[in-house]
C-alpha cells in the first residue's frame, strides 16, 4: 500500500489500487441521503391547551382576558403601594403619642412578667415569677429601673426618629424597636458568657499563662 502519495490525502496524484479497492468496498456503506418518511399510521397527541378543556373556541379570548386581568391586578397593586407610601406621613405623625404597645410593660417596682412576641423570629420568655431568681445568684438579673429608663429612652429616640424621618413606616418603627431590644438581649447574653469564660481563664492560673495554653486551642 502506497501511503506516501497525495491520493490518500486529496485524491490527486497516482491512485493506489488497494486504496481504490477499499473505497469501492466501503463505498457501499456510504450514507445515502433520503427524504424523511413519516409512517402513515403514526398518531400524534396534541397537547390540550389551558382553556381548551373549558371552551376550545373561547380559548384565545379567555387567554387575552386573563392577561388583561393579571395586568390590571398588578397595576392596582402598584398603585396601592404608591398610595400607601404617599399616605404614610400623616399616618405616622400622630402615632408618636400612642402608648408604646411593643415595648415591654415595665413597672419599676416589679420584674417584667413576659415580653410580648413581636416578631415571628424572636421569642423571649422571661420568668413567670420573681421567686426563682432569689436562689440563683449567678444568673443574670434584669434591673427594672434601668430597663424602664432604657425603654423610655428608646421610645423618645423612636419619636425623634419619626419626626426626623417621616417616611419611616410605623411597622418598621415597631419592628426596629423590638429588634433593638432583642439585639441588646442577645449581646448581653453573649457578652456575659464571654466574660464568664474570660474570668474563669484568668482565675485558673493567672501567674502561669503558659500552663493555660492547653485551654486555648
Amino acid at each position: 500500500m502506497n501511503i506516501d502519495g497525495d491520493y490518500l490525502w486529496d485524491r490527486t496524484g497516482e491512485p493506489d489500487p488497494e486504496i481504490q479497492q477499499l473505497e469501492e468496498t466501503l463505498g457501499t456503506l456510504r450514507s445515502q441521503p433520503r427524504p424523511l418518511e413519516i409512517p402513515a399510521d403514526l398518531q400524534t397527541e396534541s397537547r390540550p391547551g389551558f382553556f381548551s378543556g373549558i371552551a376550545p373556541r373561547l380559548a384565545p379570548r379567555l387567554a387575552i382576558a386573563a392577561t388583561i386581568v393579571i395586568v390590571l391586578l398588578g397595576l392596582g397593586l402598584w398603585l396601592g403601594l404608591q398610595r400607601l407610601q404617599r399616605g404614610q406621613p400623616p399616618a405616622v405623625a400622630p402615632v408618636a403619642n400612642v402608648p408604646n404597645t411593643h415595648a415591654p410593660a415595665i413597672n419599676p417596682g416589679s420584674t417584667p412578667q413576659r415580653t410580648p412576641n413581636e416578631n415571628q423570629h424572636q421569642v423571649v420568655t422571661l420568668p413567670d415569677s420573681d421567686q426563682k431568681h432569689s436562689d440563683e445568684p449567678r444568673r443574670h438579673r434584669v434591673n427594672p429601673p434601668l430597663l424602664a429608663a432604657n425603654a423610655n429612652r428608646s421610645l423618645n429616640q423612636a419619636r425623634k426618629e419619626v419626626v426626623k424621618n417621616p417616611q419611616l413606616a410605623i411597622n418598621e418603627l415597631q419592628e426596629g424597636r423590638a429588634a433593638k431590644d432583642q439585639l441588646m438581649l442577645a449581646l448581653r447574653v453573649a457578652s456575659a458568657k464571654l466574660n464568664f469564660a474570660q474570668r474563669k481563664m484568668q482565675n485558673t492560673n493567672p501567674r502561669d499563662p503558659v500552663h493555660n495554653q492547653h485551654k486555648i486551642g
Partner: protein
C-alpha cells in the same frame, strides 16, 4: 474519521461536564462546611421543660434596621452600632431549668457535632463543676473572624450564642455593664463607667 472525532469531542465534553459538576459540588460542600450558622432547632424540645427561655434570631436585615435606631452621637449606642456593623446574624438560644437533669449530653450532641467541623476552632474551653462549662469557638476566613459560637452549659442551663460576621470579641466582652447591660459579677481591671 469524522465520527471518531465527534466521539472524541463528545467524550471530552462529557469529562469536562463531569469535572465541572464535581467542582460545583465540591464548592457547595466547602461552602456548607464553612457556614458559620449553627442550627439549634434540635434544642427546641427543651423549651417545654425550661422555666426560662430566650430565643433571639436577628438576621442581617434586622441588624441593619436596628442600626438605624442606634444613635451615633450617644456613646453607648455608638459602641453597639460599631459592634453590630457588618454582622450578618445574631442568634441566641438559652434555656434555664428549675431542676437539674432536664437535659442530656445527647441534646447537645447536635450542636457539638456542628462545632467539630474543621472550620471551627475552639479557642476557649472552661469547665467548672459548680458553674458549668463554657466553650468558645471561632470560624475564621483568613485573618478575619467570620463566626462566633458560644456553648455554655451548667446543670440547670443551656445557652448557645451564634454570631455571624466579623465580630470584635474585645468590644463584645467590654459591652457588659454598659448601655443597660448589667455587669455580671465580673471583676474587671478597668474602671467602671458611671452612667
Amino acid at each position: 474519521m469524522k465520527s471518531l472525532s465527534h466521539t472524541l469531542l463528545k467524550l471530552a465534553l462529557l469529562k469536562l461536564a463531569s469535572v465541572a459538576v464535581l467542582v460545583v459540588l465540591g464548592a457547595a460542600a466547602t461552602a456548607m462546611a464553612q457556614n458559620p450558622r449553627i442550627q439549634t432547632s434540635q434544642l427546641d424540645a427543651l423549651a417545654a421543660k425550661a422555666s426560662q427561655t430566650v430565643d433571639v434570631n436577628i438576621d442581617e436585615r434586622l441588624i441593619q434596621l436596628t442600626a438605624r435606631f442606634l444613635s451615633s452621637k450617644d456613646r453607648d449606642e455608638a459602641k453597639v452600632k460599631d459592634l453590630v456593623n457588618g454582622l450578618k446574624g445574631i442568634y441566641v438560644k438559652s434555656f434555664e431549668f428549675e431542676a437539674e437533669g432536664q437535659y442530656t449530653e445527647a441534646d447537645l450532641e447536635g450542636i457539638r457535632s456542628q462545632l467539630r467541623n474543621t472550620a471551627w476552632n475552639k479557642i476557649v474551653n472552661v469547665k467548672s463543676k459548680k458553674e458549668g462549662t463554657v466553650e468558645v469557638y471561632l470560624m475564621q476566613v483568613g485573618n478575619q473572624i467570620s463566626g462566633l459560637a458560644v456553648l455554655a452549659t451548667d446543670p440547670k442551663e443551656i445557652t448557645v450564642v451564634n454570631i455571624i460576621g466579623p465580630v470584635d470579641l474585645d468590644k463584645l466582652t467590654q459591652l457588659e455593664g454598659e448601655f443597660g447591660i448589667p455587669e455580671l459579677e465580673i471583676e474587671r481591671s478597668k474602671p467602671k463607667r458611671k452612667n
